[in-house]
Point group: C2
Chain length 256, copies 2
Amino acid sequence: MEDWRAAVEADLDRLLGSDGDDPGRLREAMRYAVLGGGKRLRPIMTFAACVAAGGDWPAARPAAAAVELLHAYTLVHDDLPAMDNDLVRRGKPTVHVAFGHAEAILVGDALLTAAFGALAPLGPRAGDAVAVLARRAGVAELLGGQARDISGAKPDSLEALERLHAGKTGALFAAAAELGAVCAGADEELRGRLARFGMAYGIAFQHVDDRDDGDHPALAAGAGQRIVELGAEMDRLLAPLGEQAAALRALAQRLR
Amino acid sequence: MEDWRAAVEADLDRLLGSDGDDPGRLREAMRYAVLGGGKRLRPIMTFAACVAAGGDWPAARPAAAAVELLHAYTLVHDDLPAMDNDLVRRGKPTVHVAFGHAEAILVGDALLTAAFGALAPLGPRAGDAVAVLARRAGVAELLGGQARDISGAKPDSLEALERLHAGKTGALFAAAAELGAVCAGADEELRGRLARFGMAYGIAFQHVDDRDDGDHPALAAGAGQRIVELGAEMDRLLAPLGEQAAALRALAQRLR
């Protein structure tokens, strides 16, 4: 996985090239938001899914960069004063604090635009890839989840909590996994299987995060049970893929 | 052109379908921002460029919808309190006034996401189309222009004014025209020619707009001269295309 991480770092650095003039320091702020931090879990999911689907991992490089750029945009816009008004991320001032409020809106817009642009080199597979990313990152999933989150209503059931997790976290992991499959030239069945894996991973990831942070204590017992169930579901989804799915299995193992 | 306008209205209505639940009223706000208003100049440019490049206009429907969705996103984010803080657009409260500040950020994000998603049905041409739209709408052009604009420095020369116009208005018209060419399967030379036409149109459009609004009076004489020069440039760019370029010529004629 270190090779994958290095590949995506190099691709992000290249895509966020600092040549050209830089009105409003947008380019500088994009690099600040994306480079030098982050576990790159979503790109790693994309590479692992590509391999699980029988592809060569470098075929997934455009998609891996795209999901990380998209993730970075969600963080920049989430942190805005009108949203969560977060002042610090990964130990550094957030983009709107460091570069200005209007600039941070534009930086998020630019990262989202760059995310789709990163898919263009997929050539004949670009149409499918764009469709996957737009659907998962759009109003039906990711942005609908954000809208639900800012409404401020606390989820009052495990179902409501998982709906929130599915939108805010699951959607992008599902996209990451399905994009890996698209880059491998997988058929519909396999694309759907890996997308469901990504969704289960994302929801479990968020339950584990809640557990570690002590969030939603009233729902913690049910969520703990769901971590086990989602782990079993991930195992089941990967079972037919054999050794090719070893990297995805390793990702899932860490969420126990 | 009425057929083209009707086609893009129908496509926008379909793409912004109101089925599914609507947390935060994002879907409702997207429809509010896009439907029932607007001259649809950018989609018309896309259709006209497709025909000028020898294509059948319906081939450009995905791209026409994409440029209008992208235009709508720029308006929603431009109007935000941290940007221009506009309260009224086309005689109606702006999205952040009608739906809330955080919601308006998400609505713009959702429209930008939907713009790229709209290109997916282009299939083998989707990759080229995504590359064109991401480059023109990204930090190098449109968003760089926005960043320059919010810096608040008044352009002190005709060159500085045109750089602003090129980013804020020219970039998206250039994308609209080049996307029409991409949908027609045009070669590099013709794509470039139509992109230059779109850029000249966008800059002239903004000079005419300034003239009508009395903006930038100190630069008005030079800008008036530039409207004439850009008109001649547009004529020259279209000359080799003959009758196929009639609709583009009609668009250019209106900017005298």
